[in-house]
Symmetry: C2
Subunit: 418 residues, 2 copies
């Protein structure tokens, strides 16, 4: 990766609530995110100065029967006739949009660009959502063989358990942790601690006069096959991120005008991206080589090391994915990430907090919006605006790690101050 | 539009045959295009020097059940683990990819980028193809109202006829012209003159012992409702581009290294893009304001006028669209494009040739590949490699005009020598 011809800063960020919104259109969620972004610009912005729009979206085609979504989102926020393009790399689509926005500004083509991410998944029945997501893997070979994403990540988890001695409890500890953090995030789709979900379920059962479940504690709940269904062993319900609707937006400007909008802008220090073959060709299932390559590019470009990262949002589409990510990013050595999760090292108040937002697991995973949503969390943490989940200390360098498919694409971005 | 931080050149271009290829996968067509591109680089290229891939594709999701197509295409040509992103703007998707490639190089991020376009549409029944294409218009309002693209362009045609006095024969003259040119293009899907199609049909009818149609000449054939079905009046079968499979690729490098690959490279002089609202909100149906805006940007950036353009590939998804394009691009005044077509001014040997390749009408319209395919034609014409359809004179400046939907997106690119 060479040096960009000019620097890029983020001066605004916003997101819709993530969740299931049957009565609302995707463009409504996009307007929510855009409005919050607009309000977040410290010194204000005339949004008419936005020159181009890049929208990350996985498949509004299959989810909503809507292709060509970028100009419609552009119209929804009153920015027609500005150029609008959709970027797609499966669940990393809005990181692709961010990277396109960065290049657009660095190229000299534009000074101000809107980057967005959108996805509305809940209009389809869940089984069809699973099929739709499966099309991010190879439709010629993987899909006809019956592989879906829970199966793919279950393969990764079993390979990891076999190689490093992790247990199903290792994965559960990630889910519990992320719901703990997500309970402090008002935008989260499932913003409840698992222990509270358990209590609620008990209460509901009492109300209906049904036998009260005997779940004595969180881990017992997590082992109960009625409460925590096995989806694809060892991945159970609470190991899987939900099906979500949501949108997120970022306002990018060239570095030289950033101070016009904020004295507290967030600068792009590094942007890495790599691709990979599908899972069936890989020599090692316990790591994503695309993540390692993208991380190396981003670290080198930023001139920082994993130890410098104060806030990290990583792609926990499944709990095992978070553990693998923390190793691929160099936070832990290969085979040690699961113990870090079990020991609370990656919890909100631990020494290496991961996914302070609640992650995709708790916050929600509207796939095309997830990458931009990660950046919104880093933005809030770096500005000290994360409320009850605010990380301690000076949060001066942040990172996002966003995976497409099972790592056929991966993006790592690093952000800092200047 | 500001000046790019560095210039960009195209040093290689290739395309698969366009057509219906039921036995072949999209990646096979992409390999065809890639292989031809590789062979087209005058001084040779080590394709391992390609640093990133941008793939234009409208909806492999709906056409093939394949999302996340960029890394799979990348794998097919042996370029994993390079970063790979899909760009989408409906039928202008590979122009979006081209523009992303230009910005990627101009940003300083990369020196060599592969731009591709792919679409495989013929695996679906034609009725489902029409529905799939319709999703490029507004799925909340236009699609439920029953609008499909033939209907949209029929509306444009009737509005144009009402305003300027064109007739159905005006549109037919575009179809006849483009099939004449396409008959000289070995890559064309329907590379036959309409008069020859007519003769073949007669022969077929004779063989089957059926009454021989009395089509006396081309126009009579064009008026025969059995030979030339009314699809959405005044758009008949021979006014519509076909359903196609195909792929095209372009090799982009930074201007400062272009001479390492060719002394006859094609340089990007201008790149324009604009968006628009859907048809139902527009005050005038006889022009695409996004095309006008994109053209203005591209002309200004290139410092040229419409009169300077020697070769132009424009988006004739329907015959009427070509006429509107030639006016939006400033080749003719509003309301005069249809007469230019009728009078042969836009024919291959006319003073203002349009769509020497045969256009989408004859060459085929694999939507995500069409924009890159247009560039391949400009590449061949500018290098004097267009065979029997080679335009006369020094073809030093070329243009492509690529529309998404009914102009919710439009791209105009201008190419020249340096």
């Amino acid at each position: 990766m060479k040096k960009l011809n000019r620097g890029v800063a983020i001066v605004g960020a916003g997101m819709s609530k993530f969740g299931a919104f049957p009565g609302r259109a995707t463009r409504d969620l996009f307007v929510d995110a855009f409005t919050e972004m607009q309000g977040s610009v410290d010194k204000g912005v005339d949004v008419n100065d936005i020159e181009a729009i890049f929208i990350g979206n996985y498949s509004s085609d299959l989810f909503e029967g809507q292709g060509h979504t970028a100009p419609f989102m552009t119209d929804a926020v009153g920015l027609t006739p500005r150029p609008a393009t959709r970027c797609e790399d499966a669940c990393a689509s809005s990181s692709a949009a961010l990277r396109s926005g960065i290049m657009a500004i660095a190229s000299g083509m534009y000074d101000m660009v809107l980057v967005g991410g959108i996805e509305k998944m809940t209009d389809l029945p869940t089984s069809e959502v699973t099929d739709t997501l499966a099309t991010a893997s190879d439709a010629l070979y993987d899909v006809p063989a019956g592989y879906t994403f829970p199966g793919f990540y279950a393969s990764i988890a079993t390979a990891y358990m076999d190689k490093y001695g992790a247990t199903p409890e290792s994965w559960m500890s990630v889910g519990i942790k992320n719901h703990n953090s997500g309970s402090l995030n008002p935008k989260a789709q499932f913003g409840q601690r698992i222990i509270d979900i358990m209590a609620d379920k008990k209460k509901g059962a009492e109300k209906k006069g049904k036998p009260i479940p005997t779940w004595a504690d969180e881990m017992e709940f997590m082992h109960d096959p009625r409460a925590n269904l096995i989806i694809a062993w060892p991945m159970r319900l609470f190991d899987c991120s939900p099906v979500s609707d949501g949108a997120a937006t970022l306002l990018l400007v060239s570095e030289d005008i950033a101070k016009n909008f904020s004295d507290n802008a967030m600068y792009i220090l590094g942007s890495g991206q790599a691709s990979d073959v599908t899972l069936r060709y890989r020599s090692d299932l316990t790591t994503l080589s695309s993540a390692k390559a993208a991380a190396q590019q981003a670290y080198e470009q930023a001139g920082v090391t994993p130890q410098d990262i104060k806030v990290a949002e990583v792609h926990d589409c499944f709990t095992v994915a978070e553990v693998v990510a923390t190793e691929d990013l160099g936070f832990f050595k290969a085979g040690q990430g699961f113990e870090a999760a079990e020991e609370g090292i990656t919890s909100l108040r631990g020494p290496r907090p991961i996914n302070s937002s609640g992650g995709l697991k708790s916050k929600g995973h509207p796939v095309g919006a997830s990458g931009a949503g990660q950046v919104v969390e880093v933005w809030k943490q770096m500005r000290g605006e994360a409320g009850e989940r605010q990380l301690e200390g000076d949060i001066d360098i942040g990172l996002t790690h966003n995976v497409g498919g099972t790592g056929e694409s991966c993006f790592v971005h690093i952000f800092g101050r200047k």
